[in-house]
Structure formats: structure tokens, C-alpha cells
């Protein structure tokens, strides 16, 4: 589609139905190259459905979608080579060592042996995991696992990385460090698409879309959203939106 344009993800009228249930109701949005795009919403609002479609894990019912310049219907293999994905559950294998996990993910993204060893060394040095190189994942702390999971998801220098509620169940300090890593990835030119239901995290994003019951209720920068809804923080914005929606339904 539009290669070279500043929009790296283009979604027009995305609809996804499961039987009679409409999980995504005419979503339309663009994500710019290199930005941190937040995808907010309560559980069951349709975030994960949308992210799965963008990653090529499931097909939309209708709509035009392009990810990293490739069509979601016909070029899923190309998309997969150009994205990274980290799901809510940690994506590392407990019974493999730190190095073996890195090697595995690097290998399935087609890195050569030399690249794998080089990048693994750089990565472990950066995360200060050199001494844990041959430790099993189940023996290292949760915070480390999570940072390692993110590093592994972008080990092949993807154009976009999709993070599906990456900070679930971690302490605030680790969450902070985790977001620093996200910023670093963005500085290196990787577009970050992140879903979360922590409202304080939403403030860290460049732009936000807030989903309520399968639809995008608002989409803007955190600052503009706060002004528009005359709210002190994102939590208030979210509550006002959710309330408006339920009143509409009633």
C-alpha cells in the first residue's frame, strides 16, 4: 500500500464479529512511524481482538488494514517478519536458560548464528544478566523476565512491536524501568503499539485511543484528552467516557 508514508499502521473500518457478538465495531485509526501508541480499554473492550488481527493471528470480518506497509489479508507472512509481539502471559520458556530463550527467538526470526551470539551478548550486558546466562528462566525474578521478554520481542529489529498488557502483575519500580525500555525502543525507530489498563501508564504514550465496548471512544494525545474532558488525569477521562457510553446504551 502506501510505502514510505509516515503512517505505519492504517486501519479503516475494521469489523470483527464472533457469531452475533461484535468485538470490534468499525475501528479506524493510523499509527505514525516511531510513535508510542497506547490502546486503552477495560477488559473485554476488544483490545486483544484488535491486536491479534494486526499481528496476523486472526482475520478481520471486514475493513482495510495495512501493517508496516503490508496488507493484512494477503501479506501476513511479510507482516510477521516485520513485527515483534509480546503477550500478557510471559512469553519465555521456564525450562530453558536465559541464553537458550534468546537463541530460540532469534533463530525463529531468521537471524544467523553469528548475529545471534552477538546480539545475545549485547542484550545480556544491557540487562545485567550476564551471570544469569545459563540460569533457567524459572529461577530468575519476575521483573527480569519481563524486561528480557521485551528485549527478545525486538531482537530482530522489527518495524513495530505489539505489547499486549505487558506490565500485568509487576511492581511499580519495574514498570517504570520497563517503560524506559519502551522509550529506548522508540528512540531506535521502533513503533510501539501497547495495550494497557493502567491509566497512569497511558500518560507515557504519545497518542492514545480509548476503547469502550468495541468502539474507539476517543483518540488523541494524553494532554489533549485531559483538556477535552476537563479531567485531572487519564483515569477521570476514562470514567467519563465509560459513563457516557453506558448512558447512551440506557
Amino acid at each position: 500500500m502506501k510505502k514510505g508514508s509516515t503512517d505505519i499502521i492504517i486501519v479503516k473500518d475494521l469489523v470483527k464479529k464472533f457469531g452475533n457478538f461484535v468485538a470490534n465495531d468499525h475501528l479506524s485509526f493510523e499509527v505514525k512511524r516511531g510513535e508510542i501508541f497506547g490502546f486503552l480499554g477495560a477488559n473485554g473492550a476488544g483490545k486483544t481482538t484488535a491486536i491479534r488481527i494486526l499481528c496476523g493471528l486472526s482475520l478481520p470480518t471486514s475493513g482495510d488494514l495495512s501493517v508496516a506497509g503490508y496488507d493484512v489479508y494477503s501479506q501476513r507472512e511479510k507482516i510477521k517478519q516485520n513485527i515483534g509481539y509480546m503477550s500478557q502471559k510471559f512469553s519465555l520458556y521456564d525450562d530453558l536458560t536465559v541464553f537458550e530463550n534468546i537463541r530460540f527467538y532469534a533463530a525463529i526470526y531468521g537471524l544467523s548464528k553469528k548475529e545471534i551470539v552477538q546480539r545475545a551478548d549485547v542484550l545480556m550486558k544491557k540487562l545485567q544478566l550476564e551471570e544469569a546466562r545459563n540460569k533457567l528462566i524459572r529461577d530468575i525474578p519476575l521483573g527480569w523476565k519481563q524486561k528480557l521478554a521485551l528485549s527478545v520481542a525486538i531482537i530482530h529489529d522489527p518495524k513495530i512491536v505489539f505489547l499486549d498488557e505487558p506490565t500485568g502483575g509487576v511492581d511499580p519500580i519495574t514498570r517504570r524501568q520497563f517503560w524506559e525500555m519502551i522509550y529506548e525502543a522508540a528512540r531506535n525507530g521502533i513503533t510501539v503499539f501497547v495495550t494497557t489498563h493502567y491509566m497512569d501508564e497511558a500518560e507515557y504514550c504519545d497518542r492514545l485511543s480509548i476503547m469502550v465496548e468495541g468502539r474507539i471512544a476517543a483518540l488523541n494525545t494524553p494532554l489533549a484528552l485531559r483538556e477535552e474532558y476537563q479531567a485531572k488525569n487519564m483515569n477521570e477521562v476514562f470514567l467519563k467516557l465509560a459513563r457516557a457510553q453506558t448512558e447512551e446504551v440506557a
Partner: protein, 367 residues
């Protein structure tokens, strides 16, 4: 192909790191074979009997001697009255009581017939039956030698048991065990390994990676082809070395049929993991839906021909029955492909059917 091998290496690591399961997988054939070979046996040896001899004459003594020296029976005690019989059974160890009527030799000579009563402990009907048959056989034998001069005409059956001269039970168990263990490793282990990946959420990641779904499935299955194959070889070797179970036919053909059955079981395992997302359910399905029919409805322990018609039909839609037929045919009878092409073709059919069904299910899940 680099990607694919990276994936296969990971799978092998999973397996080798779980050394307990590995130990069970490789220890099992040995333990099972020895159990089935020595413990689960239909042969009677040294069964304890009691004798109530009301004559105590020359003939009964001779018969008693023949019975106790046959190797099948061991004289536990002599009884003196009828009332002691039930007592002897109740105490538990006595499996058979032999009662000679009084004046045995005289009756035999004068009236040309005398009575022996064989009383079996039928709380274990199979054993009782076999013991009574053995004892009858010995009695007839004695009678024949005694009549040798008197009666001019006699028919002397000379039996020969083909393919398994000594009627060893283990000859029957080796093919059955192979079917059972290959089914277990292939279907159970693959379905668990795939559903585990789903439970952990790593399946999503694999599907979001450039690996093709086909590569994921083949990569998952690949290590188990090896494990199952090694296991099949262990069983054949152990059976041969320890129990003398022969491989009379072509070894290549035998290995090929094993490979075919493993493929069938693996595709079944993949199918199971397409139907469920939980390890536990996958395990239940594999154990109940696969193991039980493999043991009961395959001719492994109970002959298919003796079952009620409905169960016989059931047997015919179970792949293990064909595999066991094939293996017996190759190992014991030394048959070539010419005699077993039908069964082989049926196994190929099963394999293709399961693969097609899995592919279809897999696609539905992805959409």
C-alpha cells in the same frame, strides 16, 4: 530451514530437561515387558492341589505320581474326608482338589470304569478351567498307556503349536506392548507438548512469528518420532534377548511398519491438541480414548474373534488392531508385505484421515 532447526532444538531441550518424564519413557518399555513377560502369564506352574484318595491302591498312586511330576501341580496336602475339601479351598492356596473313589483299581478292572472327581476353585475361572483341562489330559494319558496292549485301535493326536512352540505368553505381549507404548509416546506426549504451549500463551507468539503453522506442528512432532522409534527398537531387542521372541520376517519391513504406526499416532496427537486447549483434557482424551482401546480392543490381551459382534466392529475402527496383526505376522510368521498389504493400507488411510482433519481444525481456529 535455520528457523525450523532452531525450533526443533528448543523442542529437544524441553524433552531432555524434563529428565523424569524421559526416564519414565525409556524405563517403561523394560518394566512393562518384564511385567507382562513374567507376571501376566496364562501358563500354569506349580499350582497347589489337594488329593482325597479313598482307595490308596496301585492305580491311584501312579496317577498321583504322574500328576505331581508333571510340573503343573504341587501336592499341598492329602485329605481324608469330604468335609475337608471346602476347608482347603477356603484357606485359599488350594486351586484344585482331586478325589479318587474307593476301590478304584478294582472298579476299573471289573466294571471297566472308575470315577475321579476334579474340583476347581472357580473364583478364578480361567485358572480353574486350565487346571481341570491339564489334569484331564494327564488322566487320559495314563489311561492310554495302560490300555496300550489291550485295545488294538487307537487314535494318537500329535500336536504341534506353530510359530510359538512353547505357547509363551510373551510372544503375544511384545506386539501389543509396542502398540501401547508407541501410542502413548506419540499421541499422548505430542498432544501434551502442543497444548502446553497453548496454556502458556507461547503458541500465540509462535503463530505471530514468521514460522509457518506447518513448521510449528512438524517441529513439535519431530522429536517424538525419534523417541518412539528408539522405544520400538528397545522393545524388539529386549523381547528377543530376554524372552527369545524372534523376528522371523524382514527387519526393514518391521521398522517401516513401526514408522507408519508412529506417524498415525502422532497425527492423532496433533488432532487431539487441535480439539482442546488444556493439557489435562488432552491427557484424559489420550488415556481414556486411546490407551483403553489399545489394550482391550486390539487383540493385545483378548482375542478379537471371541468378542461380541458390536465390540468386534469397534475393534475394526481402531488402528492398533491392524498394527498388532502386522507385527505378529512379521515377527512370528515371517511374512512379507504380500500378506499384510491390506492392514498397511488401512494404517496409511488412518494417518491421512487424521492429518486432513487436523489441518481443517487448525484452519478454523486461526480464522
Amino acid at each position: 530451514m535455520n528457523r525450523f532447526w532452531g525450533f526443533v532444538v528448543k523442542e529437544f531441550l524441553h524433552i531432555f530437561r524434563d529428565y523424569r518424564t524421559l526416564l519414565i519413557l525409556f524405563g517403561m518399555p523394560a518394566v512393562q515387558l518384564i511385567l507382562f513377560g513374567y507376571v501376566v502369564t496364562n501358563e500354569i506352574k506349580d499350582a497347589r492341589i489337594a488329593i482325597l484318595d479313598q482307595s490308596k491302591d496301585e492305580t491311584t498312586r501312579k496317577i498321583t505320581e504322574k500328576i505331581t511330576s508333571s510340573g503343573y501341580f504341587r501336592l499341598d496336602r492329602n485329605l481324608h474326608t469330604y468335609s475337608e475339601i471346602e476347608e482347603a479351598f477356603k484357606e485359599g492356596d488350594i486351586k484344585l482338589v482331586i478325589v479318587f473313589e474307593s476301590n478304584f483299581t478294582r472298579k476299573l478292572e471289573r466294571e471297566r470304569q472308575a470315577h475321579v472327581q476334579l474340583i476347581g476353585d472357580a473364583s478364578d475361572p480361567n485358572t480353574a478351567n486350565i487346571l481341570v483341562n491339564y489334569a484331564t489330559g494327564i488322566l487320559n494319558n495314563y489311561l492310554r498307556t495302560r490300555n496300550a496292549e489291550a485295545i488294538p485301535l487307537q487314535i494318537l493326536p500329535e500336536t504341534r503349536m506353530m510359530y510359538n512352540k512353547e505357547l509363551k505368553g510373551v510372544f503375544m505381549f511384545v506386539p501389543g506392548l509396542m502398540a501401547m507404548l508407541l501410542m502413548l509416546i506419540s499421541a499422548l506426549m505430542t498432544s501434551i507438548s502442543i497444548t502446553k504451549e497453548k496454556e502458556l500463551g507461547t503458541m500465540e507468539l509462535l503463530l505471530a512469528s514468521p514460522l509457518r503453522p506447518m513448521q510449528i506442528v512438524v517441529g513439535k512432532v519431530f522429536p517424538y518420532v525419534f523417541l518412539a522409534f528408539i522405544n520400538a527398537c528397545i522393545i524388539i531387542l529386549l523381547g528377543n534377548i530376554v524372552f527369545g521372541v524372534p523376528v522371523r520376517g524382514s527387519v526393514t519391513l518391521l521398522l517401516f511398519e513401526n514408522f507408519l504406526f508412529i506417524s498415525m499416532a502422532l497425527s492423532l496427537g496433533v488432532l487431539i491438541s487441535c480439539l482442546t486447549n488444556s493439557q489435562q483434557l488432552a491427557m484424559m482424551i489420550s488415556l481414556v480414548a486411546l490407551m483403553l482401546p489399545t489394550i482391550l480392543l486390539s487383540g493385545f490381551i483378548f482375542p478379537v474373534e471371541n468378542m461380541p459382534k458390536v465390540l468386534q466392529w469397534l475393534c475394526h475402527i481402531m488402528p492398533p488392531m491392524y498394527f498388532i496383526t502386522i507385527i505378529k505376522s512379521i515377527m512370528l510368521k515371517g511374512n512379507g508385505l504380500f500378506y499384510i498389504w491390506k492392514e498397511t493400507l488401512i494404517l496409511v488411510g488412518f494417518t491421512l484421515f487424521f492429518i486432513l482433519l487436523s489441518v481443517k481444525k487448525f484452519k478454523i481456529r486461526l480464522a
